[in-house]
């Protein structure tokens, strides 16, 4: 790359970074965006195969410890331009109003510095921009409405059983709001029900940064550097970030910048901040609060596998097709706080067999074979549960360096008592749904998905890392966007909020750039 000076450098080209890039591409700012992974073409670089498409997950060393060590290499990660949004199930929901003020409403967790109403215009924008499909009348309108595309209508047997069970036990249910085309959009075709959403969408019916914000950013002149791993940030005597160091093709490079936007998800973002410590910032950048890396969260994402007399074939169609939001705040009536949502959630064989083994070490050999021979009779229903933020759940650095000379991160995680109560209640609810639908619930498979927190937002610099726009309290030209800034981990899937808050941050960054006199001449 000939050019070594830009107005804005974005680190990470996932759901958050790509939105920032697309927005700033319309300004006169010069923008470079780096991503540690490749820029893939769905038709040439994806395949209909689980093992092959593991390449969409982060595969670099991470130490995961605690009472409940997290899986840091699957649906909690992404590697490549588009990030984890390339392999998401694309169920896009708004958060609930109470998600932004759990401390006030239920005396647990912490309140966000913003409300649902602050995010609402961006939710509405992204609902259109991402061409969401969904029901004409979504039973829980606060989580989404006015979907520009009709709800998907070819529902799998897995989903039909799920909805039948919900109907019988008196819970509301609906087709999920999805960022998956249910009708053509320009050159893109609607979903063909191939089923491999979590392996990357070859038909390109799923809306991801790869077919929206990335091409928009490139068209607007953003320089994208794939397979460029940022190794550290350096500050100048005025205590602003001045230089971004990165490695590409094994060589060290640097970029001089006026504004840095970290959009590298919940492990790499705090890792980079902690590793970039210097004499002016001895605890790491943006870390005067001591909270960088802390309050890491996930969502519990357990499955119930139920056997039915007839064939279900859960591999058919997109994995997540229907949901109920009824238990979202069910804790108040059941002796715990917050709650969960429920989905039909089909799995392919590698994922299912892996979860069988992870949950039961005796499930090898003939045990595994006997279970898997009934694969086509299994239905899979899942919960997505809120997880309570705890300071002890955190990202820190080990003493060991990776191939780029950056300390390997250590992630410590243990569930909160409330998380376990949510899990247990969801398990019993899922079992009753399966039984009501005529199935025999056989296996409860514990899993989790998504990462949030680690650089939480807030108004008080002593108890938060960034303000509600993602701007560091300590370094005004350093922004952190995406899931790390989340204060709570609601049970609605996080990515619509990630896209929406990134848009809100992008507008602020544009204004900020004018305030500090960045005028596109870098």
């Amino acid at each position: 790359m000939a050019r070594t000076s830009f107005d804005v450098c974005i680190v990470g080209a996932g759901a958050a970074g790509s939105v920032i890039a697309a927005h700033l591409a319309k300004t006169n700012l010069s923008v470079v965006m780096l991503d540690a992974g490749p820029h893939r073409d769905p038709e040439k670089d994806f395949a209909s195969d689980e093992l092959e498409m593991e390449k969409l997950f982060w595969d670099e060393p991470r130490v995961s410890v605690g009472q409940d060590p997290l899986d840091l290499h699957r649906s909690t990660s992404g590697k490549g331009v588009g990030g984890s949004a390339v392999h998401y199930t694309a169920q896009l929901l708004r958060f609930h109003k109470s998600d932004f003020k759990t401390k006030t409403t239920e005396d647990i967790g912490e309140d966000w510095p913003i409300s649902y109403e602050d995010v609402l215009p961006y939710y509405e924008h992204m609902t259109k921009r991402l061409s969401l499909s969904g029901p004409n009348r979504f039973p829980w309108q606060t989580f989404g409405e006015h979907f520009p595309y009709p709800a998907h209508h070819d529902l799998s047997n897995n989903t039909l059983k799920f909805r039948s069970g919900l109907e019988k036990i008196g819970m509301k249910h609906a087709v999920s709001p999805l960022a998956i085309l249910s009708a053509p959009l320009e050159d893109r075709h609607p979903c063909i029900n191939r089923g491999f959403c979590e392996e990357g969408c070859m038909p390109d019916a799923k809306t991801t940064p790869l077919n929206t914000f990335i091409p928009e950013a490139l068209h607007g002149g953003v320089t994208l550097l794939p397979e460029a791993t940022v190794t550290s940030l350096a500050t100048d005597p005025s205590k602003r970030v001045k230089t971004v160091h990165y490695k590409l093709d094994g060589q060290k490079h640097e970029i001089k910048v006026k504004i840095v936007v970290l959009a590298a998800y919940a492990i790499e973002t705090p890792r980079l901040l902690l590793h970039s410590k210097n004499a002016d910032f001895p605890n790491g950048l943006a870390n005067s609060s001591g909270l960088v890396g802390k309050y890491l969260m996930t969502n519990t994402n357990d499955h119930i596998i139920a056997k039915f007399p007839e064939e279900i074939r859960m591999y058919r169609g997109n994995p997540v097709q229907a949901l109920t939001m009824d238990p979202y705040l069910c804790g108040q009536e059941n002796g715990f706080k917050r709650g969960f949502i429920l989905n039909s959630y089909g799995m392919r064989p590698v994922r299912l067999a892996t979860l069988f083994l992870e949950n039961d070490e005796t499930c090898i050999g003939e045990n595994m074979r006997m279970r898997m021979l009934d694969y086509n009779h299994f239905a899979s229903f899942a919960m997505l549960g809120e997880v309570i933020a705890q300071a002890s759940n955190q990202v820190a650095l080990t003493d060991e360096l990776d191939g780029n000379g950056v300390p390997i991160p250590k992630v410590t995680f243990s569930y909160h008592e409330n998380d376990l109560l949510i899990r247990e209640h969801a398990k019993e609810t899922l079992k009753s749904i399966a039984t009501a639908a005529g199935g025999e619930p056989l296996y409860h498979l514990r899993a989790h998905a998504h990462l949030m927190g680690g650089c939480r937002m807030g108004n008080d610099p002593h108890s938060s890392v960034v303000n509600s726009y993602g701007q560091s309290h300590d370094i005004d030209n350093l922004f952190i966007v995406g899931a790390p800034t989340f204060v709570t981990a609601p049970s609605a899937n996080p990515t619509l909020t990630i896209y929406s808050l990134a848009k809100r941050s992008a507008e602020y960054i544009e204004t900020f750039s004018k305030e500090i006199g960045v005028n596109g001449d870098s």
Partner: protein, 203 residues
């Protein structure tokens, strides 16, 4: 003669018979898995040990599984697919597997005077049972505890077994579905290229 306590519901289904309907990239991925190129990480001894271990852990899938586990795992190791650390560990999956295979042989020779792959089935089973449930003999399994090795290697073997088109056929999984997708929806409706429902599939 099939000694398994349970049989496939789909004895006549062969997912590979549809391979020409798959997109070229997926066809190539499956071709490379079925005919893997030689990897460069596993030694011949390690391959023999791994093969014997897979037979001990998964005797169930013998005769049904068609992929060469050792070749595919070596291919994955060579392609640096196993760099990540398993949960709770500070070593890569690759290191854990390579060291574990070596330690297995060390203990087999120390205790029984033979390499693991030359031991009889009963002795192998006893050793594996001991290793899976414990940290292992500290004089041998110091760097990598035996239970960590077994959880790591089992997870990799399971992934490969269930990426085998022959196993997909056994469980009636439709496999790759691009560009055609699925169209027949509704109870008891399936696309005609999928496995026929039980009654129609039994010989």
């Amino acid at each position: 003669m099939d000694k398994h306590p349970k049989r496939t519901h789909y004895p006549t289904y062969d997912v590979m018979s549809e391979k020409n309907e798959w997109d070229p990239v997926t066809q190539q991925v499956l071709f490379s898995r079925i005919h893997p190129s030689e990897g460069s990480i596993l030694t011949p001894d390690m391959k023999r040990t791994l093969q014997a271990l897979a037979k001990t852990l998964f005797p169930s899938h013998l005769g049904e599984q068609t992929l060469s586990l050792t070749m595919v795992l070596d291919q994955r190791l060579t392609a640096k697919k196993l760099k990540a650390f398993p949960k709770g560990a500070n070593l890569s999956k690759e290191t854990i597997i390579l060291k574990g295979l070596t330690f297995m042989e060390q203990e087999a020779i120390t205790e029984h005077g033979k390499t693991f792959y030359l031991l009889d089935e009963k002795t192998r089973n006893e050793l594996v049972r001991k290793w899976r449930g414990s940290d292992g003999d500290p004089s041998i399994w110091a760097e990598v505890h035996s239970d960590l090795f077994f959880s790591t290697v089992s997870a990799e073997i399971v992934k490969i077994i269930y990426s085998d088109p022959a196993i997909w056929s056994d469980i009636g999984y439709g496999g790759p579905a691009f560009p055609r997708g699925y169209y027949a929806f509704g109870p008891h409706q399936f696309d005609e290229w999928e496995a026929k429902p039980h009654g129609e599939n039994l010989v």
